[in-house]
């Protein structure tokens, strides 16, 4: 029974890794910046699930805390990246040379 659980978790981790690769392909190929940020969002969700599965696989309790913080950080990253993109494009529309974020 232990061995069966072991192999099930190996399968889950492998399939999630393949899904992360698909997210990476979307993030690299995506023609515009919103597509890339959406790919990053996908990678963050998959990584959260993968870390949770890994913590069960290793029977390490603290990895779930890492997973929790990782999920919140990836959420924050998406929000801040989209804010930066909005402010940059607004500055382009106004005709400024440099974004006001870097001043």
């Amino acid at each position: 029974m232990e061995l069966l659980m072991h192999y099930t978790l190996v399968a889950v981790i492998g399939l999630l890794s393949v899904a992360i690769l698909f997210g990476l392909v979307r993030a690299i190929r995506g023609p515009r910046r919103p597509d890339r940020i959406m790919g990053i969002n996908m990678i963050g969700s998959f990584s959260t699930a993968l870390l949770a599965a890994l913590s069960l696989f290793l029977r390490e309790n603290w990895l779930l805390d890492v997973c929790l913080v990782y999920g919140l950080c990836s959420f924050l990253a998406v929000v801040i990246l989209s804010k930066i993109h909005i402010s940059e494009s607004r500055d382009e529309k106004d005709g400024k040379e440099e974004s006001s974020l870097y001043e």
Binding site: T8, A11, V12, M38, T48, L68, L72
Partner: protein, 143 residues
């Protein structure tokens, strides 16, 4: 015996989760525009995370794991709609050609006179419907 039942339910939940994830990834690669893709990618954040976390809960069945897994599920469900909202707002605010691919066509005319009237006045632009090759060309031109 109860371990076998738990394992069976866990595998069922994992299968459901990976079917949802496969549908989401297929949608992300099939659709052409960000607002469509976002809708497909939201399946990962709701059903994918839900089913995989439920499977992991059944696998662990231990009070040191289960509350934290539920907390992860809760935080993902709170955070991912906000992230999707931000991505959608970014797309709507920054895309210059948004009106071209969000055009809504008129419904079919009911009478012949109305049909003539509409064909004279309506500018139907089939080149911007999502599947046509011209649309793909324009999409590449924007890169």
């Amino acid at each position: 015996m109860s371990e076998w039942i738990r394992w069976g339910f866990a595998v069922f939940f994992f299968a459901a989760g990976f079917i949802s994830i496969a549908a989401a990834v297929f949608g992300v690669f099939r659709f052409r525009f960000v607002l469509n893709r976002m809708q497909a990618a939201a399946i990962i954040d709701t059903f994918g995370i839900l089913f995989i976390t439920l499977g992991l809960i059944l696998m662990a069945w231990d009070m040191s794991f289960v509350p934290k897994l539920l907390l992860i599920l809760l935080f993902q469900w709170i955070g991912s709609p906000i992230a999707s909202h931000m991505v959608g707002r970014m797309e709507v605010r920054t895309e210059k050609n948004l009106k071209k691919y969000m055009e809504i066509r008129r419904s079919l005319p009911e009478t012949a006179a109305e049909s003539i009237d509409q064909s004279a006045h309506t500018e139907i632009r089939p080149e911007f419907s999502a599947g046509s090759p011209e649309c793909a060309e324009e999409k590449e031109g924007r890169e």
